[in-house]
Structure formats: C-alpha cells, structure tokens
C-alpha cells in the first residue's frame, strides 16, 4: 500500500479543543444582556379550530412585553421542507403540542405565568390517530388537501404470475414505532436586529432552508434574514425542521429587541419531529431453494400533523423495500398520510431502517420454510455484480455487500460461540 500524506491519516476535528474544554458555544449558551425570554403556548388537544385567543389578562403580568398569535404573522403563515403546511402560530390545531401563542417577557417566571393566563376558545374536532382511519374516504380532513399526501410505486416484472408459480409464499404484517431523536441538546436560539437585518442564531441542521422559511413567514426578502448555525448538540435529522427559528424572528422583528428561547426536554419531546411509524404488509415468494421470485409490499407511513420530510421518507421506503437482495418481480406501494399524531420527519436512515426490519424478518421466515440457514438464504439472494435492483438499476460496477455479509458472518462466529452449529 502506498503511503499518502492525507488519505488514511486521522485528522483531529477542528472544533474538538473547544468542545473538550467547555468553550464551544451552543445556542443556549449565548447570552445577550437584556434579551427577552420567549415561551410558547401549546395545544393540549390534538384537533380543533381556534375560535378566539384572549391575551388581555396575560398582558397585565408585570414583565410581559408582548404576546403574539397567528394574527400577528406578517408574511405567509406556513413553512415546511417539502410541503408548506405547518403554521408558525396556528389557528387550527392538528396535534397536541401545536403552537398557539408566543409570549415575550423580561424573565422566564413572568412568561410562564402569562402562558397560564391566555384564554383560548377552541372548537374541538374528532382526532384521528390511526393512519388507516385517516385514509378512509369519509375521514375528516386534517389539511384542506386531504389526509393522503402522496403515494409511490415501484414495479418490476409480473408479480401476480410469479406468486402463482411460487413454491413458498410468506406473508407478514409489521408495525414500527414512533421514535424521538433525543439529541442531548434541546432546541434553543437567540435573535436580534442588526439595523434592518434580522439575525437568528440557533441550533439547526438546515440554516439555508431555515432562512427561506423565516423570510416567507415574516414577509421579508431573503437578504434581510441571516441564520447562523451555532455549535449543534446532535440532530440526527430532527434539527432539519423549523423549531424555534420563526418564533425568534417574529419577536425580534416586531419588538426590535434581542430575544432568547430554550426548550426544555418536555417541550422538545412534544413539539418536534419523530421517526415515522410504518404499517407494512409484506409478501415474499421464493422457490424451494430459497431463491426469491417476487415481493409485494404495501407501506403506510404516519407523518402525523405535518408532512416535514414524510414524502421523501416514504419514497426511500419504497425504493429500499427489497433490501440488498435481487428480486425479479416487484410490486411496492408506499403512502404518506396525515394524522393528528406528533409530526414525523427525517431520522437516521430515512425510512430504510423500518423496511430493513420487515424485509429481513421475511428473509428469516423464508429460510425457515425452505430449511436453510438465515445466512445461506441471504447468500443466495444478495446483490452480485450485474444484478438489477427493484428500480431497474443495473449494478455493473463494484458491489461490496456480498463481501460484507461474509465478513460479518466470520466475525459473528468469532464472538458468538456455538453460532453456526445449525448451519447447513
């Protein structure tokens, strides 16, 4: 192996010394003297129309400077990465945790008292927590566009005739749960006006998208909004969505004063995106040697109250539903559906971990049915050079998955004594 000066050499991370010495400044560490404290009033019900918001008592609390509602949004009151469907402050509640009002106060204690004095009159609507119920024709619409957002299809060959000829057919239903990213740093930020330029410093994974959405919600041209990403204490996809950015921008712009917001763990849990729960019906067909002949998969992803990255997550789910295995006949449909659950968005793997659970479970069941070991089942179907994927891509260059499988099996044999005794 040639010796390179950069390739193959470890590099110390640039921000490492600041992080190990406690000098790195995360969003909540920023201290602007005189900054107002912001707190958000969140819905305790999952589905309702906001009929009236009375802030007169709350405004009397000493220390409270201003209270904002949907009526105070100067621009277009909707943001979102793929579909602009999420309001900064809402007049229709779509999940427990939707933001209804924003308090700006001189201190946190006054802001918390003010939250308890805001009177909100709601007209409650029946909540829909189940994706299958949300997909029914007569289900109440959570958004004007209806509850089914998008559907993706991946088709290859002729699944119906392959199913008729199959020697083994395994059908399973799989559900996966909602997961919170739980980065150790909760959402936080500061904002201030630099003459007519709005400056927002926040923990985020997506400063450029944040800028676009903040400008839209506040009715500002893009060049009057600056987003600065602070050192970010984990994101894992969960900090791709807007969290505190619009609140910070609205208050700083309207009041002309520096502001600060920091979510506690409870608020981070209830108000931010999650991993999509999936509902998967998976049919696998094979011959008696375990060679796959067809898969038919139906996937529904619960994107909750807002789309976030839902459509892209379900597209990935459809594309990756067959795993790293070659299947000649494929029929996959994936749907992204609104419910009144917390919204789901990007999280590590982006829809593929959910599919891996279903696909690999099916592989084990087929192996059992044809009486071969799980690892042999995978050997017989894994992508090789020249394989054609479900989306008809020919893999004509390097394919490492077969080698990886063998290396993983070898390692497993080393560290798990007794494994492989059942292997044939």
């Amino acid at each position: 192996m040639p010796e390179y000066s950069i390739i193959g050499k470890s590099v110390q991370r640039v921000d490492g010394p600041r992080k190990v010495s406690g000098q790195a400044q995360y969003a909540a560490d920023l201290n602007i003297p005189g900054a107002l404290c912001l707190k958000v009033l969140r819905s305790k019900v999952a589905h309702a129309l906001v009929k009236e918001i009375n802030v007169s008592e709350a405004l009397k609390v000493p220390g409270v400077v201003q209270i904002f509602t949907h009526a105070d949004i100067p621009g277009i009151n909707s943001y979102g990465i793929i579909i602009k469907d999420q309001p900064a402050l809402t007049n229709k509640v779509r999940f427990k945790g939707d933001a209804i009002a924003l308090v700006a106060a001189q201190d946190e204690a006054s802001a918390i008292i003010a939250l308890s004095l805001i009177e909100v009159t709601l007209e409650e609507l029946p909540p829909i927590y189940d994706v299958k119920a949300a997909m029914r024709e007569d289900a109440p619409a959570i958004h004007d566009r209806g509850n089914s957002i998008s559907a993706y299809r991946v088709k290859k060959g002729n699944v119906e005739s392959a199913l008729k000829q199959a020697e083994v057919i395994i059908t399973g239903s799989y559900t996966t749960q909602r997961i919170e990213h739980c980065y150790i740093e909760t959402e936080a930020g500061v904002a201030y006006m630099d003459n007519d330029l709005l400056v927002i410093k926040a923990g985020t994974q997506n400063p450029h998208y944040d800028r676009r959405d903040v400008a839209r919600v506040l009715g500002l041209p893009m060049n009057k909004v600056r987003i600065i990403q602070t050192t970010t204490g984990g994101g894992f996809g969960g900090k791709l969505d807007i969290s505190v950015q619009c609140f910070l921008g609205l208050a700083a712009l309207k009041l002309g004063r520096p502001v600060k917001i920091a979510y506690d763990r409870h608020e981070s849990f209830i108000s931010t995106g999650k991993r999509h729960p999936f509902y998967i019906d998976y049919t696998t067909a094979a011959d008696k040697e375990g060679k796959l002949s067809a898969v038919k998969v139906r996937i529904v992803g619960d994107t909750g109250a807002y789309a976030s990255y839902g459509p892209a997550t379900l597209l990935r789910a459809a594309v990756h539903a067959t795993g790293p295995y070659e299947v000649p006949n494929v029929d996959i449909e994936a749907s992204c559906v609104y419910t009144n659950n917390p919204f789901s968005g990007a999280m590590r793997g982006f829809g593929t971990p959910q599919m891996a659970f279903a696909c690999e479970s099916q592989m084990d069941l087929v192996a059992q049915a044809v009486n071969i070991s799980p690892v042999e089942m995978r050997r017989r179907n894994i992508f090789q050079k020249g394989a054609v994927t479900a989306t008809q891509q020919k893999l004509d260059a390097s394919i490492g998955i077969g080698k990886t499988l063998e290396a993983a099996w070898e390692k497993a044999l080393q560290v798990m004594p007794g494994l492989g005794d059942e292997n044939i």
Partner: protein, 164 residues
C-alpha cells in the same frame, strides 16, 4: 424572597454570592458565573450533561440546590485545562475521536476524572459503569471508553515522569 448567601469554591476560586435559594447549582454555574461548559439536557438527572464534581464526587448539578454547595468545592469542565493546556482526559478524548456533537463531553470527561481518581487502572466494565449516568446519542460509547483508557495511560506516564 430572602436571598441566600452562598460561599463555595469553583475551579479553585472562592466565590461569594447572594442568590435566590431556589436556584439549582446548574443555574448558578451557567447563568450567574457564565460557566456554560456545564450543559442542561433533561433537567431531571437522567442524562448527565450537567455533571460537575462536588468535593470529589460526580453529581448532576440540575438535582443539587445551589445552597447545598455551601462551603464545598465545585469543579466544572472549565477547571481542567490549566493555562490553556489540555489535561490528559481532554487530550485522550480528542485523540480517539470520542467527541462528536460534544454536548455530553464535559460530563463524560468529569465522570472519567472521578473514576480515575479512585481507580487509576480501570477495566472496560468499570469505565462503562462509571459513565453509565452520562448519555451520548452520537457515538455508541466505544470511543468514549477507549478515551478513558488512554487518559489512564497518559496519566500513568505523566505521573511516572513527575515522580522520577
């Protein structure tokens, strides 16, 4: 509310303050002394991001009322690097890549320090137990455990040199 007169030592320096007695040690460190290397992750003693050393013991500063620190000595992450030179724990964490987002790092390093004070050559299991109150969501802990092992060996070498 009546103020509480708090006297304590923080990173070797004597501190005297009149504070609201309801404040947590975490609030005094972060909001009054501006020692923001100590982080808040959960506010209920689950995650360990707010770990500090109180008289040689690792504590969650979100679960300690500030008046409880009266007359005691607190060490935060800012108290480790002397004259800007990183100490063995900090060096070791950097060397093996035990730091990713860095939010749990101050608490992890302080947990390592308390462990090595009591047990200079810990086993991997002892290290895992010592950091079990400190959650990391980025790394999977392998590099952190390795970092503590390396810190132990750097310390041993340094102490060997200084004794010689």
């Amino acid at each position: 509310m009546a103020q509480f007169h708090l006297e304590m030592k923080v990173n070797g320096k004597a501190i005297a303050l009149d504070i609201d007695p309801g404040l947590r040690l975490l609030d005094v460190l972060r909001d009054i002394l501006h020692l923001t290397g100590t982080k808040e992750g959960c506010g209920e003693g689950e995650c360990g991001a707010c770990s500090v050393i109180l008289d040689d013991e690792l504590v969650d500063s979100c679960l300690i009322l500030a008046p409880q620190a009266y007359g005691r000595e607190v060490i935060t992450i800012e108290g480790l690097a002397l004259n800007g030179e990183l100490d063995p724990y900090q060096q070791a964490f950097l060397e093996v890549g035990a730091v990713q987002c860095g939010y749990c790092t101050p608490g992890m390093i302080l947990a390592a320090r308390v462990l090595l004070n009591h047990k200079p050559k810990p086993s991997q299991q002892e290290i895992a137990r010592a950091i079990s109150g400190n959650l990391c969501r980025c790394t999977g802990y392998a590099k952190i455990v390795q970092g503590v092992e390396i810190a132990a060996s750097i310390k041993e070498t340094k102490e060997g040199v200084s004794r010689a």
